[in-house]
Symmetry: C2
Subunit: 95 residues, 2 copies
């Protein structure tokens, strides 16, 4: 099991622009056969700070997600509006 | 629903010391009646970077968690070993 947190930091004036892009990305990703969880949240204190909490069976499934048509089409459109570099943490469960 | 990500950054030489403290904190918190989720993960690239992904029904439940005996006893013991300030994000679901 691979857990992922991916954080985007969108310019305030672009938040309305990215919302439909995120909606499309979440809907298409949830339809990927290997996707266990792909949930998007927004920082209570910062409406441009978007946080994905993801779960994949393994690294190959995450790589397939990043190579998907919807990812390769939508993520660059979202990234045009970042105000700083997105962050990405891959995690193992604590036991 | 309130989703929380809390991140700790533990000094490398203290990782073994904090593991039983985290185990106790997770076990006691999961027994709190209002706790929906309280899962701990470790950054694949940094064994001192611990990430809680939490879910609470509301802010009052989170406040009760932070006021609990186990939180007030264990978190200061963990925090002695932080190498930088812990971070904390409260999030709303994206819709």
């Amino acid at each position: 099991m691979l857990k992922v947190i991916a954080e985007d930091f969108i310019k305030p004036q672009a938040v309305e622009t990215v919302l439909p892009l995120y909606r499309a990305l979440v809907a298409a990703t949830k339809r990927e056969p290997l996707c266990i969880a792909y949930d998007l949240y927004v920082d209570e204190k910062d409406p441009g700070h978007f946080i994905f909490i993801e779960e994949w069976p393994d690294r190959a499934a995450l790589d397939a997600h990043c190579a998907s048509e919807h990812f390769r089409r939508l993520v660059p459109m979202i990234n045009q509006h970042q105000r700083k570099e997105p962050t990405f943490i891959m995690m193992n469960g604590f036991s």
